[in-house]
């Protein structure tokens, strides 16, 4: 028996511009993926000022939208509402069979997995990474799963989750030097190290349902980031270094990419405008859950 959960998620992004913007263009990466154990039942997005959202599928299969506002505006509010069903059907074995590393090695320089086995802009190798790996004796062990769990655990124990310590475009250098960062930074470090072992690893942007003190409502900041590693027999499997655990039915996946830059929830270009303040609020409600047989 396993559990099926349905969430209602509302994500509001408010951009306030310090100066009137003549025109702007933006991509949105806010529509959750329908794949694996996740099914999106409903998705809608509206903007204020109201413009059409033009959908596209990017090269990683993510559902993006592009909006272009070709008139003057002082603010932009994007509201998305999704209903997502998640099941957590896959259990992580404590170890993979013999020959797992060999199989992984065969993927390392393959065309298919190139993007997820090589450095990307925010996960580039740096001296701080080498020092970190040496100091905490992080290495690949006899089994990939065991190694990844240990890695995730090491990150969790040695980094202090500190909102505001880094910025959206921070590289791993920042968190490695200060040991402070947010989920995005945890994920980037895990990506850098797992890829150095040859394991195809990708960045996941999504939501996580956190049970508050009252036992029901989620906290305000439900956007989250973790990683997925490609493992023999298991396929892409989610690890959440911020929480020292694996991704389960609480994790709702929006998009996957090489790092944050591929899947940032919004990215915009302002024509004749000044940078803005962004205020984002997310509400994530568990509508129901039921046990299902599979």
């Amino acid at each position: 028996m396993t559990e099926m959960v349905r969430y209602a998620i509302e994500h509001i992004s408010r951009f306030l511009y310090s100066k009137t913007v003549a025109r702007s263009a933006m991509w949105l990466c806010l529509q959750p993926r329908s794949d694996f154990d996740q099914h999106v039942r409903r998705f809608e997005a509206i903007t204020e000022p109201s413009v059409a959202l033009s959908p596209e599928t990017d090269s990683f299969g993510n559902n993006k939208h592009v909006i272009t506002i070709n008139f003057e505006h002082d603010s932009l509010v994007i509201t998305t509402r999704s209903e997502v069903e998640n099941i957590n059907a896959t259990r992580l074995p404590t170890a993979l069979g013999a020959g797992a590393w060999e199989e992984i090695e065969s993927w390392t320089n393959s065309f298919e997995h190139w993007d997820f086995t090589h450095e990307s802009a925010l996960t580039r190798n740096c001296p701080s990474l080498e020092n970190f790996v040496t100091r905490y004796r992080i290495g690949s062990g006899s089994d990939p799963v065991e190694s990844l769990l240990r890695l995730s655990d090491t990150l969790h124990r040695n980094f202090v989750y500190t909102p505001g310590a880094t910025t959206a475009d921070s590289t791993i250098q920042d968190i490695l030097e200060t040991k402070r960062g947010v989920c995005q930074d945890y994920a980037h470090v895990m990506i850098a190290i797992a890829r150095s072992w040859g394991i195809p690893t990708r960045y996941v942007s999504g939501y996580m349902h956190v049970t508050g003190i009252d036992g029901e409502q989620s906290t305000e900041s439900a956007t989250h980031a973790w990683v997925e590693c490609l493992l023999p027999d298991l396929g892409w499997f989610g690890f959440d270094p911020t929480n020292a655990g694996i991704a389960d039915e609480r994790h709702v996946r929006i998009a996957v990419g090489r790092d944050y830059l591929d899947v940032s929830p919004t990215r915009g270009v302002l024509i004749d405008g000044k940078p803005s303040t962004l205020e984002a609020t997310v509400k994530m409600e568990k509508m129901f859950s039921q046990a299902i047989a599979i």
């Binding site: 991509w27 090269s59 592009v66 070709n70 320089n109 393959s110 065309f111 915009g268």
Partner: protein
């Protein structure tokens, strides 16, 4: 005017003369005309050709060196003549090559069969910064990722070889046409008697090609030429081609994307654009996807392209096929996709990314030309025989530090053609850049731009390195 002291050396193919000093059969007409003209007439002719470029304003300014003022590429008044059979050979070879390269591009951005089949190693493709993952899963109309191509050919005693494919935003075609106009006007009789094939209809062929590539359902496409602006050194060409095409010349700020379609500002309001001949590099074309600091591009353009609502010629990402490492595999690419033997040979290329290539390069630096994989315009290269021991040592260090960034080739004995240098005919090394168009068929004007290494003994023909240009006459029979 006599060809006094004109040197013909066996090691270099001379474009006009046989080894015994007699003109080659297809050059007899031009040769005898030049002989009949007096020194004064020749000088006047050269002066008129040069002046026509200034008068037409076919000039460029080297930014950073404004004090030097406006310049022109030195144009030599003596044409280089190609026999019809020579041209037919080149033409079929270029057509074959471009067909194969377009199939290659379609493949590497989709199934990548060529890699699965082990013809090209993954890292050659994926290690290339010009491989744009944003283009994966996309196709081009008629598979014409490269619609406009300028291929550099050289001739040695062994025949023609391809030195480089320019598949991104090749330039120089306006020089070809302006040179033809100027030279033809000054050698009228020789031109008529030689029966030279026309190149001045290039604009029509380009227009047909761009129309071929319109998005489905658009029978009368609106075409715009996207330029980085008047400060670009090729601005004259952009303007010239826009006029030939009857297309609007636009800068990024004149284009607007709305709901997945591209529009341009006109004095009557917005008008939808269907095909964009873009002369802006990939990196700058859409700040939403590529360099975010670009002011030359159009935010959302790639989205419109992805939806198939606008055609970009050339498509983004074609740089992966003219990368200098990939170049070495082009003969294999031709065999793989077309099951044909390459008609035009490559220059033998050693890839420093491969251990044996690296070793050979380092051992033979003084005999090789070493180029950076990403370099162009004749920059960042070492010409072994013309280098000092110090230069070689420094270069070797750079190569060892990043072998994948270098390739080496033998020093080519580029053919030479007579050029007017200080009122005398003197041989200078030349190459040849024909322009190939690909819509639903291949279109090539017979000829191209002949680039000249003006410094005596020099092998570097790039205009940014003091090269000149001359007209190419392809004979009708």
């Amino acid at each position: 005017m006599e060809f006094k002291n004109y040197e013909i050396e066996p090691s270099f193919y001379d474009e006009m003369f046989n080894l015994d000093g007699s003109p080659r059969p297809h050059c007899v007409e031009v040769h005898s005309t030049l002989m009949e003209l007096t020194q004064l007439e020749i000088n006047t002719m050269q002066e008129r050709v040069t002046r026509s470029f200034y008068n037409e304003g076919i000039t460029f300014i080297v930014y950073g060196d404004e004090a030097a003022g406006e310049r022109i590429i030195p144009i030599d008044a003596v044409p280089r003549v190609l026999a019809n059979a020579e041209w037919r050979h080149i033409e079929t070879g270029l057509d074959q090559r471009l067909r194969a390269l377009n199939l290659f591009l379609e493949d590497v951005y989709n199934e990548a069969r060529i890699i699965a089949d082990g013809v090209i190693p993954t890292d050659v493709i994926r290690g290339c910064p010009q491989y744009r993952i944003e283009m994966r899963g996309l196709s081009a109309p008629y598979g014409a990722w490269v619609a406009i191509c300028g291929t550099d050919l050289v001739r040695t005693n062994d025949g023609f070889r391809v030195l480089e494919d320019n598949l991104r935003v090749p330039s120089g075609v306006s020089y070809m046409i302006a040179t033809r106009k100027a030279v033809k006007a000054n050698l009228r009789n020789a031109y008529r008697r030689s029966q030279v094939l026309d190149v001045e209809h290039y604009g029509q062929l380009l227009l047909r090609t761009l129309r071929d590539l319109a998005p489905p359902g658009i029978s009368d496409p609106t075409i715009a030429l996207l330029t980085p602006g008047v400060y670009n050194s090729a601005f004259y060409e952009h303007m010239f081609l826009a006029r030939e095409l009857g297309a609007e010349l636009v800068e990024g700020r004149d284009l607007i994307v709305n709901d997945g379609y591209v529009y341009m500002r006109t004095t009557r309001g917005l008008r939808r654009v269907d095909v964009i001949y873009r002369r802006v590099d990939d990196d700058y074309i859409d700040p939403l996807v590529f360099r975010p600091d670009s002011y030359l591009g159009v935010p959302g353009l790639l989205h419109a392209y992805r939806l198939g609502n606008v055609t970009l010629a050339n498509a983004p990402g074609t740089g992966v096929a003219d990368d200098k490492s990939v170049y070495a595999y082009v003969p294999d690419i031709i065999r793989y996709y077309l099951s044909e033997e390459p008609i035009l040979d490559n220059v033998k290329t050693n890839l420093c990314r491969q251990p044996e290539g690296l070793e050979y390069t380092l051992d033979n630096l003084e005999n090789l030309v070493v180029k950076q994989v990403g370099g162009s315009g004749g920059y960042g290269m070492l010409i072994g025989p013309h280098s000092t021991a110090d230069e070689r040592e420094n270069f070797a260090k750079d190569i060892r530090a990043n072998p994948a960034n270098y390739i080496s080739q033998p020093v080519l004995d580029l053919s030479r053609a007579p050029c007017l240098i200080d009122d005398q005919f003197e041989p200078r090394h030349v190459d040849l850049r024909p322009f190939i168009l690909r819509g639903d068929e291949t279109r090539i004007v017979p000829g191209g731009l002949c680039r000249i290494a003006l410094r005596k003994g020099s092998l570097v023909v790039n205009s940014s390195q003091g090269g000149g240009a001359k007209d190419i006459w392809v004979l009708a029979t």
